[in-house]
């Protein structure tokens, strides 16, 4: 293995994530606007917003602790690391062995715990409300996500993301019922985890409905910019994860830089479609009451477990 080129590839993957994540969010917002028959914001709107936020000073509540100030950096780092270990440009990543699928769930959980703690730090009514709801969503979504990974791991006999992607990419093109169940479950989890309709609404500031926004109400300036960027990275990481698990074709296995000519366009194409579909789902569904969310995520969990059982019952011999 050529370690210099694979390190470069790893670095490229991080840079791609940092650059593409705001674009993906911008694209989803554009599609949402089109579906709603509104004039869409430009694709680069998210960048402008980030630049504006970085420019502004931080207005900090008087009783904020250092945990509150450290959390945005930590959350950003967690999401950047997550998007680094999801195979997008190559399956042969030097940081791939550092964390497998279970550790990836751990990274998301770590970020969630910190954002919830930061939400509780100022001691406002909204902050703790958001933290409580986020943890509710989290504890329901996390096992479902883990079960999706379990199904994929049982198929590929590995929890390493690279191996999973390689194995799934080499299988013949047949619809596997277990993966179909897992795919539906994963989509539902991804909607909930990324604060999307029907579980949460990224554009609302209505106190009764917000979850993610309630936790980050007290943030401003560069802190808010980092958190928004991290949220975009999370959406990007989840999208890439879904693509890698269920549509793994087009991710090169070598470390050669030449393969980037295949990898980058196919990634961009898949993300465009994925973002469009996400906007479509969000447009046709209505926001659920918060206490319907457990039912929604419970369904996801059941589907994921069902996917695993289907694999064990029907596909184990293959």
């Amino acid at each position: 293995m050529n370690s210099a080129s694979s390190l470069l590839l790893q670095f490229l993957e991080l840079v791609t994530a940092l650059v593409a994540a705001p674009l993906l969010t911008g694209w989803v917002n554009q599609c949402r606007a089109w579906f709603g028959n509104r004039s869409a914001p430009p694709l680069l709107q998210f960048y402008r917003q980030l630049a504006k936020l970085f420019e502004k000073e931080v207005v900090l509540a008087g009783n904020a602790s250092s945990l509150f100030r450290a959390a945005p950096y930590l959350i950003f780092a967690c999401m950047a690391l997550a998007s680094m270990i999801v195979p997008t440009l190559s399956t042969d990543l030097p940081f791939g062995p550092a964390a497998d699928a279970i550790a990836l769930v751990g990274i998301f959980a770590l970020a969630r715990v910190f954002i919830a703690l930061a939400g509780m730090d100022i001691g406002t009514a909204f902050g703790s409300l958001g933290a409580r709801r986020e943890m509710l969503i989290g504890f329901l979504a996390e096992p479902a996500l883990l079960m999706v990974f379990f199904t994929a791991s049982l198929i590929s006999h590995s929890t390493s993301l690279s191996t999973i992607v390689e194995t799934l990419a080499h299988r013949e093109f047949v619809i596997y019922p277990s993966l179909a169940f897992a795919g539906v479950a994963f989509t539902m989890v991804a909607l909930a985890e990324n604060a999307r309709i029907p579980v949460d609404n990224p554009t609302t500031h209505l106190e009764l409905t917000m979850i993610h926004e309630a936790m980050i109400l007290e943030y401003s300036g560069r802190h808010l910019a980092l958190i928004e960027w991290a949220a975009a990275l999370k959406l990007y990481a989840y999208s890439c994860l879904g693509l890698a698990l269920f549509f793994p074709w087009g991710i090169p296995e070598g470390t050669g830089l030449a393969s980037l000519w295949v990898a980058l366009p196919s990634l961009a194409f898949k993300l465009l479609i994925g973002g469009f579909l996400l906007a479509a789902i969000e447009t046709v569904s209505a926001k659920l009451r918060i206490f319907r969310a457990p039912e929604f995520l419970g369904t996801a969990f059941m589907l994921a477990v069902l996917g695993m059982l289907v694999h064990l019952l029907l596909e184990k011999a293959t």
Binding site: V59, F139, T159, T163, E218, L312
Partner: protein, 676 residues
């Protein structure tokens, strides 16, 4: 251990245990001299703890050492044995108790509960008896040590015996400890077999050599599960745990939860894997099911507690459940002769024992510091302590992350290993089991995620937000000795999290002695950074790279933001969507934070609600969450016992002539029998 010839590790450990006993007795010479006890004796006890840990660490790779002590009854000497399993748990005892003892030295206050000298005696006797439990190599010595452990801990729990609820907690604890002890005693009786060997049959060496048929082996297993399960807090024998842990002083709660529960795990492992050789597959499934039920029960109840020590006690129940899940997997794999997977599951169990000892002791000690600073145990009256107690808060954060099973700290490693073991269950050669057990992994994942909820609640409500009571502004940080104790345990959490390969190499000595194989040889080939228990392609995790990566991105982000933009901060009031009126009462209380869970898991709880009416002048809101098991199991048993005693009670008339009549009748009946 570089020891003089003839002076073995076991001798060293015995002498250290004797030093603990001596420290305890030394406390009696000046039972009221506060400085002598807290500044001399407890730190000495901590030093002994460290020494014990060092010797036990050295004894891990050594071959088993045995010894016969001429104590006990005539013809019934105490047999002792130090093998890898004992050494590992002695290491745990030494390491955890070192931190707890040094903390206790700073924690003791004048004029609280039992006289300090007496408490010092009980405390060190408790430590010594735990060490003897781990060393015992015959049923007699084991039971003597086990009972002294139960008694000393009972007296420690009831230190503040003037409060009726503490006396009640102590009573329940003692009761269940003894019911469990009967189970263990009977288990040893079964293991001993028909006793053809005479007196020598009570040694573990004899039991190890016996070959039981399935029925008797299963009987012994069931009794061991009952007896050790009672001590560990396995469902439905868990009720003493959430009572006894909050009642005890915090260092004692830490010892109970961090160390004593592990002696039960030790005993169970000793019986199932060492004394009984051939587990049946349904043992594993039974243990697994009970463990899962315990885990879910513990974490669901932990989430709704509003007393911080009760919350941690329920979280201990959850962790014990996870340990039993791991043991269940171990037994199942072993029953089917799958050695490599047995080792993987067993490693996760042993690893989690060490982890839980570190982080749960840490968290219990944290509650002690909070209790001393605020005189408040109820979460609803705390808040904002991160400003007043930064040391305690930041160390608690480490414990919280470890306990929630988040990378890169230690809780994650054992959870990761356990989930890896689950992924292999489809390979089991049994039709239904291989499909049902992976589903159990879903329940484990749910429990792990809920543990995160519990820990966010614990940390967020105590340390973050604004102080909910006026008096909290007088709270002070922990003293220097308390900080040392906390730092010691927190650094154990970090070390166990960052160097898993090193730890697993050491655990190999234990798994090799129990199952004949270890994980280490395959892993060492990958270097000490990469944790890959089976194969690097199959699963891997590098905590150090993980941590460095996050640290590097944090630093880079910080520097780049400063470089390209600025670091300006303006301090102002909280925004909160522009609501003009903000009071501290508007933050979530403990009840508020767990309200979603109360709603989702309503059937689990026995809820009593008192809601205020619309026209109440003094509105009252109260929610009482109780355990169904009290009403389903314990109260019926208690009622039957009461009925039984009432039926016997008519014999007791309180008049001496009647009692004399009883004696006379008995005498006549006996004479008649002898004549006949």
């Amino acid at each position: 251990m570089p020891s003089a010839p003839g002076f073995l590790c076991l001798d060293w450990i015995l002498s250290l245990v004797c030093v603990w006993l001596a420290i305890g007795i030394a406390g009696l010479f000046a039972p009221r001299s506060f400085h002598y006890i807290s500044r001399v004796l407890y730190p000495l006890g901590a030093a002994v703890g460290i020494a014990l840990a060092v010797v036990a660490f050295a004894a891990l790779p050594a071959t088993a050492e045995t010894m016969v002590l001429p104590l006990g009854l005539p013809d019934l000497p105490f047999h002792l044995r130090l093998d890898a399993l004992s050494a590992l748990f002695l290491l745990l005892l030494g390491g955890a108790s070192a931190g707890i003892s040094i903390y206790a030295a700073g924690y003791l206050r004048k004029g609280e509960g039992t006289a300090p000298g007496l408490q010092c005696l009980e405390y060190h006797l408790f430590l010594a008896s735990m060490a003897l439990v781990l060393l015992a190599d015959d049923a007699y010595a084991f039971m003597v040590a086990w009972e002294s452990m139960a008694l000393t801990s009972f007296f420690l729990v009831t230190s503040d015996h003037r409060m009726p609820e503490i006396r009640r907690a102590g009573y329940i604890y003692l009761l269940i400890a003894h019911v469990g002890a009967i189970g263990i005693l009977l288990c040893f009786g079964v293991l001993q077999g028909n006793g053809a060997e005479g007196v020598a049959g009570y040694t573990f060496a004899h039991m190890r050599g016996m070959d039981h048929n399935d029925f008797w082996a299963s009987a012994a297993f069931g009794l061991a599960l009952f007896g050790f399960g009672a001590k560990a807090g396995l469902l439905p024998l868990h009720v003493w745990l959430p009572e006894a842990h909050p009642a005890a002083p915090s260092p004692v709660s830490a010892l109970l939860s961090g160390v004593m529960l592990k002696t039960a795990i030790y005993g169970f492992l000793r019986v199932c894997l060492d004394l009984l050789h051939h587990p049946l597959w349904w043992w594993g499934v039974l243990v697994l099911t009970l463990g899962l039920a315990t885990t879910l029960f513990g974490v669901v109840f932990a989430a709704v507690q509003s007393d911080m020590k009760r919350l941690l006690a329920y979280s201990s129940i959850e962790n014990i459940g996870l340990l039993f899940v791991g043991i269940g997997l171990t037994l199942t794999f072993q029953a089917f002769g799958m050695t490599a997977l047995t080792v993987l599951a067993l490693t996760s169990v042993l690893y989690h024992c060490l982890n839980h000892a570190a982080f749960k002791s840490l968290l219990f000690l944290v509650t002690g510091s909070v209790l001393h600073a605020t005189h408040e145990r109820s979460l609803g009256k705390l808040g904002g302590l991160i400003h007043r107690m930064p040391w305690v808060a930041w160390l608690a954060l480490l414990g919280v992350i470890a306990s929630a099973g988040l990378p890169p700290l230690n809780g994650f490693v054992s959870e990761w290993l356990l989930l890896q073991a689950f992924l292999f269950t489809p390979d089991l050669p049994h039709g239904y089991i291989n499909m049902l057990i992976p589903v159990a992994a879903a329940a484990v994942a749910l429990a792990a995620a809920l543990a995160g909820y519990v820990m966010v609640k614990f940390f967020g409500v105590i340390f973050l937000g604004r102080p909910r009571e006026e008096k909290l502004s007088q709270a002070h940080d922990a003293g220097i000795l308390e900080r040392v104790g906390l730092c010691w345990l927190a650094s154990l959490c970090v070390a166990l999290g960052l160097f898993p390969v090193f730890v697993i190499e050491k655990l190999d000595h234990v798994t090799t002695s129990l199952t004949g194989a270890g994980l280490g040889s395959a892993m060492r080939a990958n270097g000490w950074l990469l944790l890959a228990p089976i194969d690097a392609d199959r699963a891997s995790y590098e905590p150090i790279v993980f941590l460095l990566c996050i640290a590097a991105i944090v630093v880079a982000a910080f520097l780049l933001v400063r470089r390209f933009w600025h670091g300006r901060v303006r301090v102002s009031g909280a925004w909160d969507c522009g609501f003009p009126m903000q009071t501290v009462r508007m933050q979530d209380t403990a009840e508020g934070f767990s309200q979603p869970l109360r709603q989702v898991f309503e059937p689990f709880y026995r809820l009593t609600r008192e809601l205020p009416g619309s026209f109440d002048k003094k509105p009252m809101y109260r929610v009482i969450v109780q355990d169904h098991f009290w009403y389903w199991l314990y109260l019926p048993v208690a009622r039957v016992a009461e009925l039984g005693t009432r039926m016997v009670a008519f014999l007791q008339q309180g008049r001496i002539s009647i009692y004399l009549l009883y004696s006379f009748v008995t005498l006549v009946v006996l004479l008649f029998l002898i004549r006949g």
